[in-house]
């Protein structure tokens, strides 16, 4: 996904603890997220979810499956 694009979370895959923590930070299935920024050198990404900016490590972010919203 490109910077500035929006998407709907399909689901998060990966470890039990990670999926759970993501859900608690508001990244639950069906939630709309906006990709604000991609960090340099394969660094973290910054997303907006429920009105809050969150930084997710690339490894973490790659486990969140998102369906882009057509604009």
């Amino acid at each position: 996904m490109d910077e500035g694009r929006r998407g709907i979370i399909v689901r998060a895959v990966g470890g039990y603890g990670l999926v759970r923590r993501l859900a608690e930070m508001g990244l639950t299935p069906g939630t709309e997220v906006k990709l604000l920024k991609k960090g340099p050198f394969g660094g973290p990404v910054e997303v907006e979810v429920r009105g809050v900016a969150l930084a997710l490590g690339r490894g973490v972010a790659s486990k969140v499956l998102v369906k882009p919203v057509k604009e």
Partner: protein
């Protein structure tokens, strides 16, 4: 009463407004979590306030969350103030809902109303209060607005003047049915646990498979039966939704939060780009971000170390005179006792005042500034990728950089990591980074007598060590590694008062913990020296010193004294052995040992303060072993190569 809320919502600002300087900062018993409490008088009431750590949830993910919910459930504060960021209502309500599950009287402080207004968000306060069934007080804590109303409301709630009916959170039918079934079993089988935690809450947590609650339930007779029932229902729920049960419940809570937030918020025209957003764009820019980061780090360094060494020199000369005076006053006493008092006790105090304090205080000020302004998460954002190489994530960058100046603030800085595991890995790495004092030894001995290239090689070797130790600690320490999931709060102007109060309280706490340890250590080493035991020690480990490390017998003494302060090791070595008589290999070996072995006593004190005795001593011993091993190895390998 207790303050609860997400991180970055202005909770500590409200706390400072309430208590002023009348506060104590410490740790929660046995935990590396800051605990701030204070007292205030209001309308004839003496109110004890406790500032719970900033959290997003009440699950068992982090130590902060467990500390908070146990405090609320066990200590049962009269009132909880739920501090909420009005500009991110939905996310904040997630915690509010969980606080409601704990069934404690609650007042909401709807904070940062000004910032929300700037973002074009308007909240119907009365409607929100009605929806949640709790009083809601709008505040702008930074400006002190709404604090008095908040206190009046809290007092009115605590004294029963206003009664209200907090919203009973009800989940969707299929979840609700399961919660109630577990609740019935819990009430029947675990009456004792229900006296502490609400039965419904236990039921919800069991359905979520909360590790901490599961452990608690196991300890009771009949607990197994309850767990079996909960597990069955949880797996039914998971089958139905195709997701882990905690995710199902989190989604459920968020949909409640989202519904309430939508009903009470009006979003007006999106605002124009503010200076905060522009600053954010520049400081996390792909290219520009890095020079700015370097600039901030350099500025931080110079402030801490120029300011620190200035303060240190001033204090040292002041205290030097005092020590002469004490010696003169005490001449009537036996010489040994005078030495013990002056060098041992007073010397320890001097070491604390001149090494630790001058660096710790500026560090605390800058840490508070970085925390309150919101730069810290942005630095972490930029460094995340690099830090992953040593098994940590972006946030660890801050303590590591600080380590080059002084290990003491760096060790304390490790608490910005979320979990104990991450804190320990960071601390292990931090104490291996050569601090300013070790730099003195590296440059003063190897740099001067062997050559700068050798000194540089030592630095590189040290970085490699940090990398290896980081990786080993990453593998050895139990627990799940945590990727970066971090809120990036908007930039804010830090409030001077909040920064200074934070600094003052933290410094006070540091002095209480660290000084006794420093003085005791100093006293012990002086006693060893006066009684002549030091000579025996040196003679006793002579085979090791000369055989394995290849150093002159006396060289062990400066190494022992180096525990007090590391640059002392070089000064003493020069007194005992003419430096020119040492071979380059011996110099390198000596410096290597100084670089790696047990951190100075002030650092050990900081480690004890952060991690407790057991872990601090383990770390120190691991380092000594590592230093002696590497030192010896270097001696033998280099001797083969050199000659």
């Amino acid at each position: 009463m207790a303050l609860a809320g997400n991180a970055n919502v202005g909770k500590s600002v409200i706390f400072n407004q309430l208590t002023g300087l009348n506060q104590v900062v410490g740790n929660w018993p046995g935990k590396t979590v800051e605990r701030a409490e204070g007292n205030l008088h209001f309308k004839g009431y003496d109110i004890h306030v406790i500032d719970l750590p900033g959290i997003y949830s009440l699950s068992a993910f982090s130590i902060e969350e467990i500390v908070s919910r146990d405090y609320i459930a066990v200590e049962k504060p009269d009132v909880i103030i739920d501090v909420v960021d009005a500009s991110a209502l939905e996310r904040n309500l997630y915690l509010t809902i969980q606080l409601l599950e704990l069934e404690t009287p609650m007042v909401m402080a709807l904070n940062q109303m000004d910032y929300a207004a700037k973002k074009g968000i308007r909240i119907d306060v009365e409607k929100l209060s009605k929806k949640l069934g709790i009083p809601v007080v709008p505040t702008v804590a930074i400006a002190g607005r709404g604090i008095n109303e908040l206190l009046s409301t809290v007092v009115a709630v605590a004294s029963g003047e206003i009664s209200f009916k907090p919203l009973k959170i009800r989940f969707g039918a299929e979840i609700e049915e399961k919660v109630q079934r577990i609740q019935e079993v819990v009430e029947q089988k675990l009456p004792n646990l229900c006296a502490v935690y609400p039965a419904r809450w236990i039921a919800i947590k069991l359905l979520e498979k909360d590790e901490d609650v599961v452990e608690k339930v196991k300890r009771y007779a009949g607990g197994e039966e309850v767990l079996k029932c909960a597990e069955k229902l949880a797996s039914e729920l998971e089958k139905m939704h195709g997701e882990p049960s905690p995710v199902v419940l989190a989604s459920e809570r968020y949909s409640i939060a989202s519904k309430i937030a939508k009903e009470v918020t009006v979003i007006e025209t999106p605002p124009k780009i503010s200076w905060e957003q522009r600053l954010d764009a520049i400081t996390t820019h792909k290219i520009l971000g890095y020079p700015i980061l370097v600039g901030v780090v350099l500025a931080m360094f110079s402030l801490i170390f120029i300011g620190g060494s200035f303060l240190s020199t001033v204090l040292e000369s002041l205290l030097g005179n005092v020590s002469l005076h004490i010696e003169n006053i005490l001449t009537f006493m036996p010489h040994e006792i005078v030495k013990l008092i002056v060098e041992g006790v007073f010397g320890g105090v001097v070491a604390g005042v001149t090494i630790a304090l001058p660096y710790v205080v500026p560090f605390y000020i800058i840490l508070a500034l970085l925390e309150d302004s919101g730069y810290l998460p942005r630095a972490a954002f930029l460094m995340d990728n690099l830090m992953h190489k040593i098994g940590l994530h972006g946030k660890a960058f801050i303590p590591l950089i600080l380590g080059y100046g002084c290990s003491v603030p760096a060790c304390i800085g490790c608490r910005i990591m979320e979990t104990n595991r991450e804190r320990l890995i960071a601390a292990f790495a931090v104490i291996l980074i050569p601090c300013a004092a070790r730099t003195v030894v590296i440059l003063g001995l190897v740099g001067r007598y062997v050559g700068l290239h050798a000194a540089l090689a030592l630095y590189i070797l040290d970085l490699a060590l940090v990398f290896i130790v980081g990786r080993v600690a990453f593998k050895v320490l139990p627990g799940e590694p945590v990727g970066l999931i971090m809120e990036v709060p908007p930039y804010k102007k830090p409030a001077l008062k909040a920064v200074l109060t934070k600094t003052w309280s933290r410094t006070k706490d540091f002095v209480y913990i660290a000084f006794p340890i420093i003085v005791a250590g100093s006293l012990a080493i002086t006693a060893l020296n006066i009684t002549g035991l030091m000579g025996y020690v040196a003679a006793g480990i002579k085979p090791f010193t000369t055989g394995w490390l290849g150093l002159p017998e006396e060289a062990i003494i400066p190494l022992i004294f180096g525990v007090l302060r590391k640059e002392l090791a070089l000064i003493l070595l020069a007194e005992l052995v003419p430096l020119e008589t040492l071979s380059p290999v011996q110099m390198i070996t000596f410096t290597l040992v100084v670089m790696v072995y047990v951190p100075c006593i002030a650092t050990v004190a900081a480690l004890v303060r952060e991690f407790g005795w057991r872990k601090a001593l383990t770390m120190a011993l691991v380092n000594v072993a590592l230093a002696l091993f590497i030192g010896g190895l270097a001696y033998h390998i280099l001797s083969l190569l050199w000659f």
